[in-house]
């Protein structure tokens, strides 16, 4: 029974490499989108804390030193999902975002609810060892976008908790379990995010603000997992690789010169399953390769922990 549950658990765990570079406005919460179980009337709750040290200054692919800036991002993501039928499921993601920008003479921060994401998933097929899922999400402009500094000036768009836009995320993922009869499981998928333009960022009663758009992005993710039993505990170490390509942001209808680029990130984590319905996953992530447009400050290290609780509403 436990092995069956373990198999199910592996199926429902998500791609967990985060996408954040320097901004929130939705980017880090992509990692919260989950491929759900195909077990009918399954309900899942997850709580994730993610910390990012964003203090690597890069020009193209060269790391520069003597940068007076540093940034951190701390995100708490609450997620709930429900499987309604063997084919269909849906979920909601609610992020809370803290960002801090520090220089030698200033420390500015913002804390607030980010944009809420609603997701719907269709299980294209599920066989004994494999499954293909399609997931579509809409990000709603519910996040806080009026954070001010200590002189009552709007913080820049990448320091706001939300983007003020409807964005659309399409994701296709394929999972294959027990490759070659081993206990190794592989998940791979692609994701494309289409962002819209906030035409009135920083608008006030006296000002129409200005247009701002975060660049669209593409991701390819591959993840490996293998379960072990240690002293009657199930543990599942995982390794994920994420390739991310983001277009430049568009500011005032002009391509922002120091934005966009390519990232290759790795994430190492381990699922601890102390109880049948409960999972705990600490992880850390780090960049393997970054080739960015112009000069950008980007993530140097990330770490976090996820708590998952999963149960069925079906009567036995």
């Amino acid at each position: 029974m436990k092995m069956l549950w373990l198999s199910l658990f592996i199926c429902i765990t998500n791609f967990s490499v985060s996408a954040q570079t320097c901004c929130t406005a939705g980017a880090p919460i992509l990692s919260g989108i989950t491929i759900n179980s195909n077990q009918e009337r399954n309900f899942a709750l997850a709580l994730k804390y993610d910390y990012r040290s964003i203090n690597r200054l890069i020009q193209n692919n060269e790391v520069l030193v003597n940068d007076p800036r540093s940034r951190i991002g701390m995100n708490t993501i609450v997620k709930a999902s429900m499987t309604f039928s063997p084919k269909w499921s849906a979920g909601i993601i609610i992020p809370f975002i803290y960002q801090e920008r520090a220089t030698i003479s200033e420390r500015a921060s913002s804390l607030g609810q980010g944009d809420i994401i609603l997701t719907g998933q269709y299980l294209v097929f599920a066989e004994a060892f494999s499954q293909l899922s399609w997931l579509a999400s809409v990000k709603f402009p519910t996040g806080k976008i009026n954070h001010l500094d200590d002189r009552s000036i709007f913080l820049s768009p990448d320091m706001q908790s939300g983007s003020g836009t409807f964005d659309f995320i399409n994701q296709l993922s394929f999972a294959y379990n027990q490759i070659g009869g081993s206990l190794i499981n592989i998940e791979t998928g692609v994701l494309y995010r289409i962002n819209s333009t906030n035409e009135n960022f920083a608008a006030t009663q006296n000002s129409d603000g200005r247009p701002y758009k975060f660049g669209n992005e593409f991701q390819y993710i591959i993840s490996f997992k293998r379960p072990f039993t240690i002293n009657k505990w199930f543990v599942i170490p995982d390794l994920s690789l994420q390739y991310r390509m983001a277009n430049a942001n568009v500011e005032n209808h002009t391509i922002a010169p120091n934005s966009g680029g390519q990232w290759l990130n790795a994430q190492v984590g381990i699922y601890l399953l102390p109880k049948e319905k409960l999972s705990i996953r600490p992880y850390f992530s780090f960049p393997l390769y970054q080739n960015l447009e112009g000069l950008q400050i980007t993530t140097k290290l990330g770490a976090g922990i996820e708590l998952g609780y999963n149960f069925s509403l079906q009567k036995n």
Binding site: R69, E106, D150, I153, R210, A256
Partner: protein, 347 residues
């Protein structure tokens, strides 16, 4: 008074002093410009690091400049220093001393404006840093003594303890490297040992300099009388201002004109990429362009030679120095935004 009372009094005094300091130098929400038009550029305060210990080379030792590269030059007390745009693009402010004058060379890559500010502000020597804020796409420096924010092109304090105070400026000469070498062959040149490793050969804003439709931040007055990125010499008078486009000088020439009641001499050459303005306090007439005789920029038949710093040799005014009006070069879109009533000189 017992010991406890003394301690209480001391604490009270400390508290009052602390409160006073906060009131004086702490962040303020009061702006002389519309605060909702002030933009956070993203890097944060000092996120673009000013150069506070500039290092210089002799012209002959400089190997990173091309002849067409722009520099900003300052001449004071017989000392000439050049600050390449290539370095200014990454730092925006250089706190320095030229001759006996403590100056901060402020430069905004987005408006193309270079203005030298006096670092003695309100009787106190200060440094300026990059606040990370922009108004009409233009740099807002802050002074490190009072943490007041200033508008570079408005030339005044717009937020903080020194609110409404005007800044004292010093004249700069903005031209291309080849021309500067002929004007001041003994000048010192800011080098790349800035304390920061940046790729100074790489312009960080893409096609911004030449693309008229590329404005990263909106301005509060779209003035399309000239192309947005046309380089224009502005003369700012107390009650009126005037613009002289570099395109006027596709053939080198001297223009005598009146701005805000004062007669001016404007000398320019698009080929040499130089635009200069002087107050014609000596009532000089019959001036001829002489940029083919650099460092002389203009001459008169009576033997008068005018140099780029306004000094005169030969002729009846030998030894005199022409004063400079309040003047700087910038992209037209920014001048039109800051000075909506600015007149444009036409031939």
């Amino acid at each position: 008074m017992n010991t406890l009372s003394k301690i209480a009094c001391l604490l009270l005094i400390c508290l009052l002093v602390a409160c006073g300091d906060n009131d004086r130098f702490g962040p303020s929400s009061e702006w002389t410009i519309p605060s909702d038009e002030v933009m956070d550029g993203g890097p944060g305060k000092d996120g673009i690091p000013s150069i506070d210990s500039p290092q210089f080379d002799q012209i002959d030792d400089v190997d990173f400049m091309d002849d067409e590269d722009l520099i900003v030059g300052i001449v004071k007390d017989g000392e000439a220093k050049a600050y390449p745009h290539k370095i200014l693009d990454w730092h925006e402010i250089v706190n320095d001393k030229v001759g006996e004058q403590e100056i901060a060379l402020t430069y905004c890559p987005l408006t193309g404006t270079a203005i030298a500010w006096d670092r003695n502000v309100n009787g106190v020597l200060t440094e300026f840093g990059v606040s990370g804020k922009l108004y009409n796409s233009n740099l807002i420096p802050y002074d490190r003594e009072t943490d007041s924010y200033w508008s570079q092109m408005d030339l005044s304090c717009v937020n903080g303890a020194l609110l409404n105070m005007n800044i004292v400026t010093h004249h700069v000469i903005e031209t291309k490297w080849q021309t500067w070498k002929e004007l001041f062959p003994d000048a010192m040149v800011l080098n790349r040992a800035t304390g920061f490793n940046r790729d100074y050969s790489n312009y960080p804003y893409g096609d911004y300099r030449t693309n008229d439709s590329n404005l990263l931040f909106p301005v509060n007055n779209d003035d399309d009388r000239l192309p947005a990125k046309e380089r224009v010499l502005s003369i700012i008078g107390p009650t009126a201002s005037k613009a002289y486009s570099i395109e006027l000088f596709d053939t080198p020439k001297v223009i005598i004109d009146v701005v805000d009641g004062t007669e001016m001499i404007i000398i320019g050459d698009k080929e040499q990429n130089i635009l200069l303005a002087f107050e014609n306090s000596l009532d000089l007439t019959n001036l001829f362009i002489a940029v083919d005789q650099l460092p002389v920029v203009a001459t008169r038949p009576d033997g008068t030679k005018i140099y780029s710093d306004g000094s005169i040799q030969g002729g009846p005014s030998d030894g005199a120095i022409l004063d400079h009006p309040e003047t700087f070069i910038g992209y037209w879109f920014a001048l039109g935004a800051f000075y909506p009533d600015m007149e444009i000189y036409e031939l």
